[in-house]
Amino acid sequence: MLFVDKHRPKTLDSLTYHHDLSSRLKALANGDFPHLLVYGPSGAGKKTRIIATLKELYGPGVEKIKIDSRIFTTTSNRKLEFNIVASIYHLEITPSDVGNYDRVVIQDLLKEVAQTQQVDLAAKQRFKVVVINEADHLTRDAQAALRRTMEKYSPNLRLILLANSTANIIAPIRSRTLLVRVAAPTTDEIVDVLKGVGKMERLEVKDGLCKRIAVESGRNLRRALLMFEAVYAQNEVVKDNTPLPPPDWEALISQIADEIMAEHSPARILQVRAKLYDLLTHCIPPTVILKTLTFKLIPKIDDTIKADVIKWSAFYEHRLHLGNKPIFHLEAFVAKFLRLLESYLMDMDYDF
């Protein structure tokens, strides 16, 4: 088992940071529980907190999880297969799995859940909880379908929506839920967690190393733990200055960045394309590629053109979402970057 899963806190009390938030969740779980919209960057501990809250609500029963496969039929008689993770008290769904048909799932499934009463008479709560993952990827239609359901069936049903940002959640949903922000842990908090895990695993913990991992992880606890485990798996003796192996894809992206900086020619774009394709075929999301590439390039260039590079990076990232062929936009960004850099260098020549 990975450290990430093995040492995941199971109860609200054992969470190591955001104590304020934990006590609030606890208070909610023991009072009357509202619909929640939990948002925050990835690796901040949203899911962990929700599972702990569910446990607080229902007791250990929620940990017995089974996976159901359900079939839904759309209005056009298309069959959709959909996986549901469920315990007797709660359901967990990722409606974005079915793409545009998420509305059907939301309508059918939620109503079905909402219209049946809790079977277990010994249950601590009368309502069932439905956890909706990736709520920010729900289509407008699906979100609209949620609106009245949330009000009408509130005696039988509570929703917990999980999202990375609230930007894509429509206002009517936001005004019906309690917003819970889970901020990423600070580097110090990550260091503490790493030390704690190291102690439990009986590993020799180095302060300097933990600190470096924490900084390198970009305040993402999941990533920090994975890196931490990787370092210990790869090295027999771990020292403060043991190099941190970046993931393959990240190494490849820094290689691309180096190549772009080294030579500014159409031929180079062609070479880079092969690498970008390589990344895409390995299912690295194009947004991640573009973002990582941008932040790898930024330190290498002069301050004056940084703003422009960011501007175009954001521009092409936006295009990525509108178009459906990522490679065009990635390549366009590379070409634009080369042009920016070249014209900047040319200007320098004129000046002198």
Partner: protein, 387 residues
Amino acid sequence: MASNFFDLKKRKEAAAASSSSKQKAGLSQAADRPVPWVEKYRPKTLSDVTAQDHTVSVLRRTLQSSNLPHMLFYGPPGTGKTSTILALAKELYGPELMKTRVLELNASDERGISIVREKVKNFAKIAVSTTTAANASKYPCPPYKIIILDEADSMTHDAQSALRRTMETYSKITRFCLICNYVTRIIDPLASRCSKFRFKPLDEGNTRLRLSSIAEAEGVKYQEGVVDTLIKVADGDLRKAITFLQSAAKLHGAVKERTGDDMEVDSGAKGGEITVRSIEEIAGVIPEKTIDDLMQSMEPRPHGQAVYTPVATIVQDIVADGWSAAQVLLQLYNRLVFSDMLTGNQKNQIVAIFSEIDKRLVDGADEHLVILDMSLRIAGVLGDTGS
């Protein structure tokens, strides 16, 4: 059937049953049922509806004449559109008759063209049910049914067109009430068949009145300024304000009960008292200090130094703290547009940036890049004073 859910009595019974299984009452009031306050304080009669004086007075007159036109309610969320029509229906029919006379469909129901053709048409077609004498003496019970199409702007255009003739053919025995946020998404032929009622965002005075009366009824204690903050963050959306108030009350009310524990309570908060900060936290408002820092970092530097590094650091922190980009946009907008330091031309440019960024956010672009881009571009505009 959807109409069952109007049966408030049944709903309350269910709610009461559920609360009896829980021994603990989360709030100061022991008899409190776990019903959201939004539902609990939903206006029961037309005269309870807050702030929509014009609409209510028109509807009241139609109530007396017992002749209702087709209606189209539109306005921003949380202004009382659904509440108004439900209250009206109840005043017309009384709770019993409402079950057979009112059909409510909303976006959670399948509303494709087939449903409009079958369910809506069938309901529109059936003869008006008779009423008992007892009921008739209490309520006007006019001889027509009401079909409420909530969130009508999420209906497809085809489904809307299918309604056109249905509305006219059965107008003798059926009245339609369409409810939507954006009147522009209702096709013209439908809109022209209805009398339109605009629901405006609630003004400050009415929101304040309503909030303080709810707070009083629930026995909530709050600090000075909490209501003002609520009004500010809710921006005319009463439902939002009430939800926030309830959430805050729950958090603090519950914390109060366990003061013996070693739990961390918001610093400066006395037990059971809602603080301004907690409202802001619930609403997802970014602390002024963070925005100050961001503004500071965007100020032009002396000697033409680039602003990139300080801006990037702060933006990274904002993103890692999980603040929503839309909220950053909104608060920055309020700061900059009302700032006296900027020239009109600069404001023009900045507003253009905001509009583009907002579009990108809605399209689902990456928040980190978008905020960074926005901050850098605004910084560029700010630094442009000289030329």
